[in-house]
């Protein structure tokens, strides 16, 4: 019953939780990035 996951002091759970939270932040940053890109397109801001 998922024995390996319960071994070694369950540090994998910690890794999983941190990755999940980190992933959430990254998804948030990516969505902001996309919104900024869309605004740039609407306003026709050219790359220098």
């Amino acid at each position: 019953m998922a024995d390996t996951f319960r071994q070694d002091g369950k540090i994998y759970v910690v890794v999983g939780v941190i990755l999940l939270i980190f992933g959430g932040f990254i998804v948030y940053v990516i969505s902001i990035d996309k919104k900024v890109s869309r605004l740039e397109k609407e306003l026709d801001i050219r790359e220098e």
Partner: protein, 252 residues
């Protein structure tokens, strides 16, 4: 730089490196040292904050110099965004350092020369933002804060790299001997530490790039608004004389 901000590859690299840092940083084999124990893993999270801060603040001062060379509004936006991201990294570095020190040096703040130096350096950069906010005129603000930024950077380097080496410090690599001494030769740590530095620094760059892009958008909107107001004023001023003329005619 503007072009690079919109590229995707380095953002993917950021995510890959940081996911690797979290997994390998927590699970990889580390040297078994007294006192430090498992907290040696903090190396992959605390120290990259400082590396990242230095790199971001270097970008900031480079754009401050470029602004003074050629006063383009964009350079000022770059300077302040990189300084912002750098200071955020510095604050996280100080806080994570205090937490780490509490369990390894016995107290969150032991007045270590490097701790004090970092705190002074951060205060100098806080003053940079206060200075900016106290100036109304955009060009004046950009110019004066660019000059201040150069002085702040010039104070940062001795505070973090020179003064702590002149006295004894609890930080490894200080008090005479540069380098990482205890973990210097451990390749296991290096395999995670270097990617961690690159990953965290890129994350700071990503956040700074978003800030710069929103500032450019704001600038553009302001310009459009300005043009709108001017166009409205013009069109409002134009048809006005006709009814006056006509009324003058009918009166006669």
């Amino acid at each position: 730089m503007d072009k690079l901000f919109k590229r995707r590859w380095w953002k993917i690299l950021t995510i890959v490196l940081l996911v690797y840092t979290i997994i390998a940083g927590l699970l990889a084999e580390v040297p078994r040292l007294a006192i430090l124990n498992e907290t040696i893993r903090v190396l992959h999270f605390h120290v990259p904050m400082w590396f990242g801060m230095i790199i971001l603040l270097t970008f900031s001062v480079v754009y401050a110099i470029r602004y003074l060379n050629k006063p383009k509004a964009v350079y000022d936006m770059y300077t302040v965004a990189f300084a912002h991201a750098g200071v955020v990294f510095g604050m996280l570095g100080i806080l994570s350092g205090a937490l780490w020190a509490n369990f390894t040096w016995g107290s969150p703040w032991s007045g270590d020369p490097k701790q004090n130096g970092a705190a002074i350096a951060l205060l100098i950069y806080f003053a940079y933002f206060i200075l900016r906010n106290s100036l109304e005129d955009e060009q004046q603000r950009a110019k004066i804060s660019a000059v201040y930024n150069i002085f702040a950077f010039a104070a940062l380097i001795p505070l973090l790299f020179i003064l702590p080496r002149l006295t004894d410090s609890l930080h490894p690599g200080n008090g005479g001997n540069p380098g990482f001494n205890a973990y210097d030769l451990d390749s296991n740590l290096r395999m995670v530490f270097y990617p961690a530095v690159v990953g965290w620094t890129l994350l700071g760059g990503w956040l700074a790039s978003l800030m710069i892009r929103t500032k450019i958008i704001k600038h553009k909107l302001y310009e459009l608004e300005e043009n709108d107001v001017r166009a409205n004023a013009f069109s409002a001023a134009q048809p006005e004389p006709r009814p006056l003329e006509r009324s003058a005619d009918t009166e006669r």
